[in-house]
């Protein structure tokens, strides 16, 4: 039995598939991995919480100073804000520098994500032009057009993907040590230093509230109970801030770990294993980020 000859590229199936196979084999994995893009996006999104945490370094100083002035020294209420702001101005300068360093990290992650996704490169036009061109070829049917488009997309991706991977692996290789140093320093500051400032604030609250309770509970027991409640509320707020800072430090650790994984596998950025690793970090960052709200 003879079959009618089908016009167009599909009529030469084996040859077309040979081209497709060759192109596919020339690229390690045909599909573009959105993993780095998602990793970068998750990092940047979680990073939006950082300014609030950093700002609280100065605000914690102001709260601590208010406890001291109000409790011990009979502060002038009119000038309280002014005095505390002046005392804590140094902390404000540290916050600006800290936020700047963090912005650099997030800016880097965003750029890495953009580079990995090749957002500026549009494949649509060449591929569509090609599709139109194939339609113009006599005898070409819809299947043929689709097949040729498919091949060209793979080839286009192969060219762009290789170019991007080369750029990415170079950047990752050169920057990893600095990213790790930056992440470590930010973690030390947010988890350690800010944590210690919150300890000091908590102790200041204790000195203020417990001092008042001890001094006045004899004459005003009900007021003492209310003050005690207020103190517990302040303690809960401090604990919530501490928890947010801890969670954000975990985000930073994940960013560092994810970048380290990219560095360790920089020669195979498109491999399934790397994609899995990076996606795992992305998911962890997204989960942590969803629990960052509420404390500030």
């Amino acid at each position: 039995m003879t079959h009618p000859r089908v016009a167009g590229p599909l009529a030469h199936g084996p040859l077309v598939w040979l081209v497709v196979s060759f192109v596919c084999l020339s690229v390690a994995g045909c599909a573009e991995a959105p993993a780095v893009k998602r990793f970068a996006a998750a990092s940047a999104s979680a990073g939006e919480k950082f300014p609030e945490i950093a700002n609280d370094i100065e605000e914690s100083c102001e709260r601590r100073e208010k406890y001291r002035l109000l409790g011990r020294w009979g502060a002038d209420l009119d000038s309280l804000e002014e005095v505390t702001a002046l005392t804590c101005a140094e902390y404000g300068r540290a916050v600006s520098r800290l936020s700047g360093a963090h912005r650099v990290l997030i800016g880097y992650m965003k750029a890495l994500g953009n580079l990995s996704a090749g957002e500026i490169v549009s494949y649509d036009n060449p591929v569509d032009d090609l599709g139109d061109a194939v339609v113009g070829i006599s005898g070409a049917d819809a299947k043929s057009v689709a097949a040729v488009k498919g091949v060209s997309e793979v080839l286009a991706e192969a060219v762009a993907g290789k170019w991007r991977n080369k750029q990415m692996s170079t950047v990752i290789e050169r920057t990893n040590a600095d990213v790790q140093a930056l992440v470590t320093a930010l973690c030390e500051t947010i988890e350690g230093d800010y944590g210690r400032l919150l300890d000091a604030e908590s102790e200041a609250a204790r000195k203020f509230y417990l001092g008042l309770i001890k001094e006045h509970r004899g004459e005003e027991p009900l007021t003492a109970v209310l003050v005690y409640d207020r103190w517990l509320g302040e303690e809960r707020a401090i604990e919530a801030r501490r928890e947010t800072a801890r969670s954000y430090a975990k985000v930073l650790h994940k960013i560092g770990r994810g970048h380290q994984d990219l560095y360790d596998h920089r020669g195979a950025l498109k491999s399934k294993d790397v994609r899995k690793l990076v996606l795992r970090h992305s998911t962890a960052i997204e989960d942590l980020a969803s629990n960052l709200g509420g404390a500030f």
Binding site: H12, R64, G107, L155, L182, T189, R196, R206, K214
Partner: protein
């Protein structure tokens, strides 16, 4: 005088904080035994220690950020390079056009149509130039 490292600032901050807290524990647990003047005197020391602890922590943050300066500079430079690389992607786009034209030519050859081959060849030459 030997300059202190940021971790030494942190250690001192922690010790001062603990001292302040222990003095507070003492003052509150001996509230009745201590006279008002003594309480005020102990409390004054507590606040001094607590403030010193926080100032040392702030100094540790400052030192950390000082140490970070060259790191931040290099990461910023990397980011700038990446942005440049992304802009250069337009060159990659040109490569894509050439690749697409090559595939078109390939499919034209496969289709067996001389006019399609001629047209595709012309486009491939234009894309490459």
């Amino acid at each position: 005088m030997t300059e202190l490292h940021r971790d030494e600032f942190r250690d001192l901050a922690e010790q001062f904080y603990r001292l302040s807290k222990e003095l507070g524990d003492y003052r509150f647990s001996h509230w009745e035994e201590l006279g008002k003047t003594e309480r005020l005197s102990v409390e004054s020391m507590e606040w001094s220690l607590l403030n010193a602890s926080s100032d040392l922590t702030a100094a540790a943050i400052d030192l950390t950020l000082d140490d970070l300066k060259p790191v931040v500079k290099r990461v910023s430079a990397s980011t700038r390079k990446m942005k440049t690389a992304i802009r250069k992607a337009s060159r990659a786009k040109d490569v894509l056009k050439i690749a697409a034209a090559a595939v078109e030519l390939c499919s034209a050859i496969v289709s067996g149509s001389p006019s399609a081959v001629a047209a595709a060849l012309e486009r491939a030459i234009k894309a490459s130039s």
